[in-house]
């Protein structure tokens, strides 16, 4: 594993600095290769978004821009994307708020049931998605059957059941990341604020919150990417609603339209661009 092993193993006679230099390059080379591996299917998706295919987008048949010219051309592709974005934003918002509150309670307060709450937050992360999906499907179906019977309503699986499920599995991830940020916060800083005449509310809003905010933003981004990319739980609780991953999976049997490639690759580029812009803005503000 060690990058330094190579230097030691192959060039024992060279000096320590040369060894270190080699070791440094070695780690970077492996890193770049692993990154390329991560990107290989993304490139593939990109290239086949230009494929002028007949029936199924598997073999290369020639170059065309027509899918890019008409990304919503495939029935349901753009609708599913919009659904995914809506669900993603909504569940991110709710999960981030609920998770952040829980994280504050767990790190900043001592109370009966703290241990149990910690476990309650951890266990969903250790539960396979398929189990989460299956169990949620069970209560939704049973619950809706009963409610519809009693009240004559027409509750069914769809947008809201997906959102509820996504909020549920995002909460734990939000709690863990906000918790980590809170724990690494130096308690002296809040003491210093109090020493400088800031009351509890001012201390929170001027010191604690701004310092924890990067953790909360990071947690929100994580929640969004988990929700946006979720397929397994969604497939259980979605009913007739179609998210983008589900759209891709379902159309796989018939042959995926290249519009899916266009949309998938575009989301990748947009996400990349947003995060890079965010970093640049963040760096600029730091100066």
């Amino acid at each position: 594993m060690s990058t330094q092993t190579v230097g030691t193993a192959y060039r024992p006679s060279l000096g320590k600095r040369v060894q270190g230099w080699l070791a440094g390059r070695f780690a970077m080379i492996v890193a770049v290769l692993v990154l390329l591996y991560l990107f290989l299917p993304v490139f593939y998706t990109f290239i086949f978004s230009f494929n002028d295919y007949r029936k199924s987008n598997i073999e290369w048949r020639g170059f065309t821009l027509k899918h890019w010219a008409n990304p919503c051309g495939a029935a349901g592709a753009c609708d599913s994307l919009v659904t995914s974005l809506e669900i993603g934003l909504l569940s991110t918002l709710v999960a981030t708020m609920l998770g952040t509150l829980v994280a504050f309670a767990l790190v900043r307060h001592r109370f009966r049931g703290r241990g149990a709450s910690n476990i309650l937050v951890f266990v969903p992360m250790a539960t396979p998605e398929i189990v989460l999906g299956a169990s949620l499907l069970t209560i939704f179906v049973n619950g809706f059957t009963q409610l519809n019977g009693w009240f004559g309503t027409d509750l069914k699986l769809g947008f809201w059941t997906i959102t509820i499920a996504h909020i549920m599995f995002c909460i734990s991830f939000v709690v863990v990341s906000v918790k980590a940020r809170l724990q690494s916060l130096d308690p002296r800083l809040e003491e210093a604020a109090q020493d400088l005449y800031a009351g509890p509310a001012e201390t929170f809003w001027k010191i604690t919150f701004p310092l924890v905010l990067p953790g909360i933003v990071g947690a929100a981004l994580l929640a969004f990417s988990l929700s946006f990319d979720d397929f397994i739980i969604t497939s259980f609780v979605s009913g007739n609603e179609t998210t983008f991953p589900k759209f891709v999976y379902v159309s796989y049997l018939r042959g995926i339209p290249a519009q899916a490639n266009v949309i998938g690759f575009s989301m990748f580029v947009i996400a990349l661009a947003l995060v890079i812009i965010g970093q640049i803005v963040g760096n600029a503000r730091k100066k």
């Binding site: 990058t3 330094q4 092993t5 230097g7 030691t8 070791a23 780690a27 492996v30 890193a31 692993v34 991560l38 990107f39 290989l40 299917p41 993304v42 593939y44 998706t45 086949f48 598997i58 998770g99 829980v102 504050f104 309670a105 109370f111 703290r114 709450s117 309650l120 951890f122 992360m125 250790a126 396979p128 398929i130 189990v131 299956a134 169990s135 069970t138 209560i139 549920m168 909460i171 734990s172 991830f173 709690v175 980590a180 724990q183 690494s184 130096d186 929100a220 981004l221 990319d229 397994i232 991953p245 891709v248 999976y249 995926i256 998938g264 989301m267 990748f268 990349l272 995060v275 890079i276």
Partner: protein, 307 residues
Amino acid sequence: MSALAHMGGGGAPATAMPPKEPSGRSWLPYLLLLPGVLWLLVFFIYPLAQLFAVSLYSDYPDYPGYYYQDVNWHNYVRALTDFLPHFGRSMLYAGLATFFAFVLAYPLAYAMAFKAGKWRGIMMILVIAPFFTSFILRTIAWRQILADEGPVAWVLEHLHLLSFMPNGRITETWVAVVAGLTYNFLPFMVLPIYASLERADPRVIEAGGDLYANGFTTFRTVTLPMSMPGVIAGTLLTFIPAAGDYVNAELLGSDTGTKMVGNVIESQFFKVLGGYPIAAALSFSLMALILAMVFLYVRRYGTEELL
């Protein structure tokens, strides 16, 4: 974006115990907890309880697809005997994928933490960005890349290595399934390891380098132990979803010999008439198995930080 990176990195040492509540405000923590915990109780604990009840249902012999409430442990016996190979595969494939993901992730995380300099942020983004091309889309791309007439098979063919693969091909074999699992959960391994390495002081590692001239000894005695919380978090975050996955086996595996527990649960749920209680029993067995392993593992390596 670095949220996942905090995972398992733990916090500063000063996290012993929160201070005692000022008197008269003991309700505050419960107020903060209430919405989140309520959500988890209603949409996590309660559904699990329901699923457990279902896993003990019996079906009417003459009316397939209809069940009555019961305490029928036989479902579990069936789940564990009929589908034992699937459990075995799930654990084996997930274990292999976790191992390979670790092997790939460590150098990447190491390079990001210590060698990347100003490229650090960009590399971090690059690790996460593929998430946004749907993972289904990427897995399907792998299917094409690993296909019999695809580039990987072509290269192996010309290196005379293809015959070493099961059935002389990659796609529709366990190799492809493990490759897919490794690929899909790799970022979950990279980020926690990166976070714990980043938190480690490079000067400590330099000091280690002075104490032990040998690079590997430095790595084994200084670098690796310091990144241990990240390694534990990463292996858990890779192993757990991999063990419950069915998409990779569905898209990359064969119709018979590479199905995992997830595939069985999915098909018992949706495709097999009367499979509902068995699917529930399978789900519960899988969850129990994974939780047991996780708790043993966490206890063995003693990290409370994850909890």
